[in-house]
């Protein structure tokens, strides 16, 4: 598949065509001035002027509250899965890559039908980064500002156009459906896109992660966990904003004979997460809980899935009320 060009003036036309087939979400400016992904409305302009969304788009695939099934008089009813196609435009490469992490968890031997359904019905058009944030480190965890992994189409913003490249069959068919608006990208456009991505790449912080498994294997009792544990407030903002965190809890809400089973996000920063029925808690303080977070992402995940469960989006760093920085922990692990 070769690269195509879409004039930015035609973006709304393309979105409008997508909207005939499903719900379209685009980057838009909120009243507060933040750019968030929101339903596309012809009267609201799409903005390309943002670095990333405050919240990760994982909610489209793994919602914070999800009704798994309803039951009545001891009989369960089939879950009602949301219908219709969804198109997400403007997802950043780190967040698209995060979907491949969630895929490993939810689409393994025992596939999660809820996740699978939401993943199946959603088309992701990622927008490459031409600017970075001080908290970004995607290229240290296998990604990059022009990485199309996890997306169906990767777009790169050029001066006048968007350069589009299909990453999957779904992406191919999206591009062929808009073929009348697209033209072949010449060498100059491809070169311009690469130059923009290289420029973004050069701004990124480098973090040593490649040997994290080995370094974390001998790190269980390092004093740095104590130091981080003292600071960590245990709020869970890092985990709730993380595009790869996927732990959840399941609760039955019953009234009379009628009820529902819901899935909600859970978080390893919370004491309740590991509290056992006996009253014993194997991770009694923030020290053990913060260690688990780092170990899970950079050791256990790599051992089990060959990839860190971190895409370097930096949300945990920006959102931490006490400015704990996972990059600092990885650096301080020592040789």
């Amino acid at each position: 598949m070769t690269e195509k060009l879409l004039s930015q003036a035609n973006l709304e036309r393309l979105l409008s065509r997508l909207a005939d087939g499903g719900a379209v979400w685009v980057p838009g400016r909120e009243e507060t001035g933040d750019v968030a992904i929101m339903p596309w409305l012809p009267e609201n302009p799409v903005t390309l002027d943002y670095r990333n969304f405050l919240q990760s788009p994982k909610v489209f695939f793994f919602p914070q509250n999800q009704t798994l099934l309803r039951f009545e008089d001891g009989k369960s009813k089939e879950p009602i899965l949301p219908e219709g196609e969804v198109f997400l435009f403007g997802v950043r490469p780190c967040d698209a890559r995060a979907l491949t992490v969630l895929d490993r968890v939810f689409l393994g031997d025992r596939g999660d039908p809820y996740y699978a359904h939401l993943r199946q019905r959603t088309t992701v058009i990622a927008l490459a980064c031409t600017r970075t944030m001080a908290s970004c480190f995607c290229s240290s965890v296998g990604g990059g500002p022009g990485d199309g992994t996890g997306a169906d189409v990767l777009a790169v913003e050029l001066a006048e156009d968007l350069l589009l490249k299909a990453q999957t069959d779904k992406g191919e068919s999206l591009l062929s459906s808009g073929a009348d608006m697209l033209r072949e990208a010449g060498e100059a456009a491809v070169e311009e896109s690469q130059e923009r991505i290289r420029n973004a790449e050069s701004q990124l912080a480098r973090v040593r992660t490649e040997d994290s498994v080995r370094r974390l294997r001998d790190a269980f009792d390092l004093p740095l966990w104590e130091a981080a544990g003292l600071k960590c407030l245990g709020c869970g903002a890092c985990s709730f904003l993380c595009p790869t965190c996927h732990c959840f809890d399941i609760t039955d809400e019953v009234r009379g004979g009628v009820g529902r089973r819901t899935r909600t996000w859970d978080c390893c920063a919370y004491p309740l997460f590991t509290l056992q029925g006996s009253g014993h808690n194997p991770r009694p303080t923030a020290r053990e809980r913060w260690r688990q977070r780092v170990m899970h992402k950079f050791r256990y995940a790599v051992e089990s899935f060959d990839t860190p469960f971190c895409v370097g989006c930096g949300r945990c760093i920006r959102s931490c009320p006490v400015a704990l920085d996972i990059r600092t922990t990885l650096r301080d692990l020592g040789a």
Partner: protein, 337 residues
């Protein structure tokens, strides 16, 4: 040289001396963080590392939040409770000091184990406001200039000055008195005098709006909440060993973001802080999605002040207002079922 630089030097001297003379075993302060507009808490234990201590307009965390847990014994931790409680020095802004006073009054910390170092406060910067004020540019570094404004180096290589007033934390804009009447050591020159409580103006403005508009505002605000617990965890007055929201036998509240659960979370939190919130704004600055979580807590504190003439964090002795009962307490607000 900015005023905070001089204060920073005095603070380092103070902490160094306290640690060297073994008056304290740990000194809680701030140090430079990895991102601009931020600092990170520092648990300093070696006098020779006092140079790590920072004091600048980005010292946003209310360090009093750590005190109850420093004296608490963790259930399930081996040897917990056998170690002697630490002697703690702590750097506090005026509002943070009021939190400590409230904690002492509520018997959550050991006064005799504390050296309370108040640092003269000219208000702090809300990092989120500062980021927004950059108009899409990314800060690479930030500091205070001689006038107290914030100089920022941004990613296009240029330098920008942000007016302090524009990026001040909301709590600081509403601050009634930046100095505390009580401390062991004062670093810098405290601001004298008392201003009007700025939150009253905001509450009055909110209350003047029609019911539908207020309800819409609550719904819009709460729809952003992701039910992490940052506001609760950043608050020094939220020290319950098991929060009502963490109880699961039974669960009093759903864990997710359905509107009734979110509203219940914020309403219960505000009620539990009635007459206890000292208005430091740590909750609001901790919120990762920028919710104005102070409106409700301030409103209830204003109510308590009007009903009982009580302001939290102003006395060490006496019974906290909601723990006391008098036959002549006003009760007009009590409604018949």
């Amino acid at each position: 040289m900015s005023a905070s630089r001089e204060v920073e030097a005095r603070l380092r001297e103070t902490a160094e001396k306290l640690l060297r003379e073994k008056k304290v075993s740990v000194f809680l302060g701030y140090e430079k963080a990895s991102l601009p507009f931020r600092t990170t808490p520092l648990f300093l234990t070696h006098a020779e590392e006092a140079e790590r201590l920072a004091w600048n307009p980005f010292c946003a965390v209310n360090l009093a939040v750590y005190l109850p847990r420093l004296f608490a014994t963790h259930v399930g931790v081996r040897d917990a409770g056998t170690a002697a409680p630490p002697a703690v020095g702590i750097a506090l802004k005026g509002c943070d000091m009021r939190s400590v006073m409230a904690l002492i009054q509520e018997r959550q910390v050991r006064r005799e184990n504390l050296v309370l170092v108040e640092v003269a406060c000219a208000g702090i910067v809300d990092g989120r406001k500062a980021e927004k004020a950059l108009g899409g540019r990314e800060a690479l570094g930030a500091g205070e200039d001689g006038q107290g404004n914030i100089r920022v180096v941004v990613d296009d290589g240029s330098e920008i000055t942000l007016q302090r007033e524009d990026v001040s934390s909301e709590a600081c804009r509403e601050c009634r008195y930046s100095a505390s009447p009580y401390h062991d050591v004062m670093v810098g020159v405290p601001m004298e005098g008392e201003k009007a409580d700025g939150s009253r103006r905001r509450i009055a403005e909110f209350e003047s709006r029609p019911l539908e508009s207020r309800w819409a505002s609550f719904q819009q605000t709460f729809s952003k909440c992701i039910r992490c617990n940052a506001c609760r965890q950043a608050c020094p007055m939220c020290y319950c060993k098991t929060c009502v929201f963490d109880q699961n036998r039974p669960s009093w509240i759903g864990a997710g973001t359905e509107s009734s659960d979110v509203a219940l979370y914020h309403l219960v939190r505000a009620l539990h802080l009635a007459g206890r919130c000292t208005g430091c704004g740590a909750c609001e600055r901790a919120c990762p999605v920028g919710i104005d979580v102070r409106l409700l807590t301030r409103k209830l504190c204003v109510e308590v002040e009007e009903l009982y003439g009580y302001r939290p964090g102003e006395a060490l002795e006496g019974i906290p207002v909601l723990s006391s009962f008098a036959m002549d307490d006003p009760q007009e607000f009590v409604t018949e079922p």
